[in-house]
């Protein structure tokens, strides 16, 4: 039973609207990668095609290196579940320029929409999760500004928090499980890294 009403692609588009060179984005493998790419591929996007569990720590290393720019990690519940400890590491460093947005559909999308731990209990033998609350985990790790967004009326606030609020900010957006076409950025990792550094630093 899917009670979520938010759609990931329009949401990603709103979060990234008007992105300029002060916004550095790291997106987790799979759907978040395609989401930010549909919103508009740009050199200061680092879309991951693998490295599951690496999104938040990569964004943290970047945020510490670039304190004058906003760093936004956009990932899914599956990737986030694989690196929950990184939320404690983020809390220790407390970077004011880092926001983490988890697009949570309760599914492992890349492998066939199996239930993740964040799916509700009692959905039968195949689709049940544990109702795992990622925002509560983040708060428990020490990221005080952690919250879950479920309704369209909250999206404007989510966007403002993700883009501008003093961090670290952690937001879970409950989204619908949807089958959407892949919108793919370049795949070559060295190219993605080089174009990012060229745009940010003027050198590869």
């Amino acid at each position: 039973m899917d009670t979520a009403t938010l759609s990931r692609r329009p949401l990603a588009k709103k979060i990234l609207a008007g992105a300029d060179d002060t916004l550095l984005v790291v997106a987790g493998l799979g759907s978040p990668n395609w989401d930010i790419t549909e919103a508009g591929d740009r050199p200061l996007n680092m879309p991951l095609w693998g490295a599951m569990g690496g999104t938040v720590p990569m964004a943290l290393g970047l945020a510490l290196a670039q304190p004058g720019r906003r760093v936004l990690a956009i990932t899914g519940d599956g990737d986030m579940l694989m690196s929950l400890g990184a939320l404690a590491t983020v809390a220790m460093q407390a970077p004011a320029n880092l926001a983490i947005v988890v697009l949570d559909n309760g599914k492992f999308g890349e492998t066939g929409n199996q239930a993740t731990h964040t799916s509700p209990r009692g959905q039968g033998p195949v689709d049940s999760g544990a109702g795992t609350d990622l925002a509560m985990i983040a708060r428990g790790c020490g990221i005080a500004d952690s919250a879950t967004v479920t309704a369209e009326r909250e999206v404007e606030g989510l966007v403002a928090d993700a883009r501008r609020k003093a961090g670290p900010v952690f937001r879970v957006a409950k989204i619908k499980a949807e089958k959407l076409p892949f919108v793919m950025p370049p795949q070559d990792g060295a190219h993605l890294k080089d174009r990012f550094r060229q745009a940010l630093l003027g050198t590869t």
């Binding site: 790291v26 720590p57 990569m58 290393g61 510490l64 690196s83 400890g85 060295a190 940010l200």
Partner: protein, 177 residues
Amino acid sequence: MSAPADWRQRIFELFQQHDIKQVYHVPDAGHGPLIEACQRSNAMRTVVLTTEEEGIPMAAGAWLGGQRSVLLMQSSGVGNTINLLGLTKTLRMPFVTLITMRGEWGEFNSWQYPMGQGTPRVLEAMGVIVYAVDRAEEVGPTVDAALRAAFDGGQAVAVLLRQKLLGFKDFRALGKR
């Protein structure tokens, strides 16, 4: 301590000379004095991890942002990093890790042997260049070479600080079973 303490000071000096800005670690007795020197320094950010795995994407993020980093870990942690070590090859990024070895030279704890013995081969399998140090006087030149290979030559390099250098815990003196 079986080796002169000042090789750790030498590593710290090399971090400064090579403009290392982020140092990742988990708690470790072998790296202890080096970690404390880094924590006291205003020139670099020291980040304690919950698992060594975090150190690889953090190094990638730091490099994307124009900063150099080093990951300090123990041989047991190498196994935790394997899939994400692939980032060094995929992104073709510089990477340096200094690894205090367990499970190789007079180790008392049998649980340390599997990963300790597997460490060099695991690193090599993931495309990481492996340097090893047995003697205190080799530490400085080897770490210097690793930092140059990484940040000038674009390579992923691990320096194994071997147990012969670090010394082993005298298990017989620690207690009786």
